[in-house]
């Protein structure tokens, strides 16, 4: 296995992006959508998530460690590529570049977001509707969150497309075109869910 460590790392990076990080993103977006039902509806959902058994273990194994690996190795991948859309302005080349840009933006957003919510909670601030309302009532932070959420969703959706190519699921050009459509529909639908939630907090 010595010779193919890079292969293993890259495949692990691809897998973790979908399972568990992609799945977690979906759950996170869905649970947060309770905010559209008002503050008590959101607080009930948040309390349920916080009361899950083995919460810390679940968080570390399913969220923090995979996310750290994906983020750090992802930065390495992003910065060993050279953008050349100026010379080769093909659709997929733009998606290649956007995948890397949204990845970096998502990393900055997620780092700030975790600091402001989960780490603040660990230091004793209650994580509830009021906390998010306070954060998002600043127009700047609302914009930052909107950009961060859309970038994260794009990175996930387009990442699903390349996941299917990297593991050899979609081989034919036709299946790759159709999976482009499907993943872009996922991007639009999840973006609506995410943005609706943000508006529900203000």
């Amino acid at each position: 296995m010595a010779g193919n460590r890079e292969f293993f790392n890259r495949r692990l990076h691809s897998l973790l992006g979908v399972i568990p990080i992609g799945l977690f993103l979906c759950i996170h977006l869905v649970v947060n959508h309770f905010a559209t039902g008002g503050s008590s509806s959101f607080n009930r959902a948040a309390n349920f998530m916080e009361s899950l058994p083995f919460l810390h273990i679940l968080e570390w194994i399913l969220i923090f460690l995979p996310l750290l690996y994906h983020a750090i190795y992802g930065l390495y991948i992003a910065f060993t590529g050279t953008a050349n859309v100026g010379r080769f302005g093909f659709f997929r080349n733009w998606m290649y570049l956007l995948q890397r840009i949204t990845g970096v933006i998502t990393l900055i957003f997620v780092a700030w977001h975790v600091w402001e919510t989960r780490i603040a909670m660990a230091f004793g601030t209650a994580l509830n509707y009021q906390m998010m309302h306070d954060i998002l009532s600043s127009p700047f932070m609302f914009g930052f969150y909107a950009v961060g959420v859309v970038c994260a969703i794009f990175h996930f959706s387009n990442g699903l497309w390349s996941f299917m190519v990297s593991w050899g699921i979609t081989v034919s050009p036709r299946s790759q075109v159709i999976s482009t459509y499907v993943t872009m529909i996922i991007f639009v639908v999840l973006s609506i869910v995410g943005i609706q939630t943000l508006f529900a907090f203000v």
Binding site: N9, R10, T80, G81, N84, Y96, L97, W167, G168
Partner: protein, 253 residues
């Protein structure tokens, strides 16, 4: 007085592998059906720049002159392609020529594509047929499969896909898109398939399969229309299965 029609060229030149590149302009008399090679030959005949300075003739590589050998690849008006099949009538002027900088420049437009041949050796892109005794005839290949495989065999290691790939650069050791087509070609051959696992394992090492970032420029840029991205996904699938065999244990061949 009839004005003679000319073709204008701006050529990126470089005197030695380590020296700085510079540009020179040339104007050559137009002839019908000219390609970039014939214009370069014209400049070689009379190596004088537009400003009237006598200069060294331009160095470039060429061989077959019918887009089969891949030697005359260069960047023509920003696009990597073969100079032999680049017709002057179809190019916007001034025509800009530059070497494919992804490769080490030897001189002017001449580049060193050895890394591609080294890559092919690394992934065993051949079919071993030699033995210490007569091995007899190999298994037959279905005609439909032969026709399909022929498309992959058109690869001329011209280097255009490496030039177009954002992941082939000095920061990575990615071997480049063309290797996928060749691994798939030799793995598809009935005799070549006997070494499929070896080939895949070699291609899973550093600089291999995982270097692809799915920008899919290669398939757009390939002058021979080789289904490179299909080959990438197909080899990815084979590598997935091979890595499972390697780790969980199964008959490895």
């Amino acid at each position: 007085m009839a004005e003679t029609k000319t073709v204008k060229f701006i050529i990126t030149r470089q005197d030695s592998p380590d020296s700085a590149p510079y540009e020179e302009e040339f104007e050559v008399p137009y002839r019908p059906n000219m390609n970039v090679i014939s214009a370069l030959m014209e400049i070689r005949r009379n190596p004088v720049t537009t400003k009237g300075n006598k200069t060294a003739p331009i160095t470039w590589d060429m061989n077959c002159l019918e887009e089969v050998c891949g030697a005359c690849s260069m960047v023509i008006n920003g696009k990597p392609r073969q100079a032999c099949s680049a017709l002057v009538d179809k190019l916007e002027q001034p025509i800009r020529l530059a070497p494919m900088k992804t490769f080490p420049v030897i001189r002017d437009l001449q580049i060193d594509r050895s890394r591609m041949f080294d890559s092919l050796k690394k992934v065993k892109a051949w079919i071993p047929i030699d033995g210490t005794y007569d091995l007899g005839p190999g298994p037959r290949m279905a005609e439909t499969k032969r026709q399909w495989a022929y498309e992959l065999s058109k690869c001329m290691t011209c280097g255009v896909c490496l030039e177009a790939c954002p992941n082939v650069n000095s920061k990575t050791n990615f071997m480049g898109p063309f290797v996928f087509g060749q691994v798939r070609l030799f793995n598809a051959h009935p005799t070549g398939a006997m070494n499929k696992a070896e080939r895949l394992n070699a291609f899973m090492e550093d600089g291999g399969i995982q270097g692809c970032g799915n920008s899919q420029n290669c398939v757009q840029a390939c002058p021979k229309g080789i289904p490179l991205t299909t080959s990438i996904a197909a080899v990815n699938r084979d590598a997935t299965i091979q890595s499972f065999k390697n780790f969980f244990g199964s008959d490895q061949i």
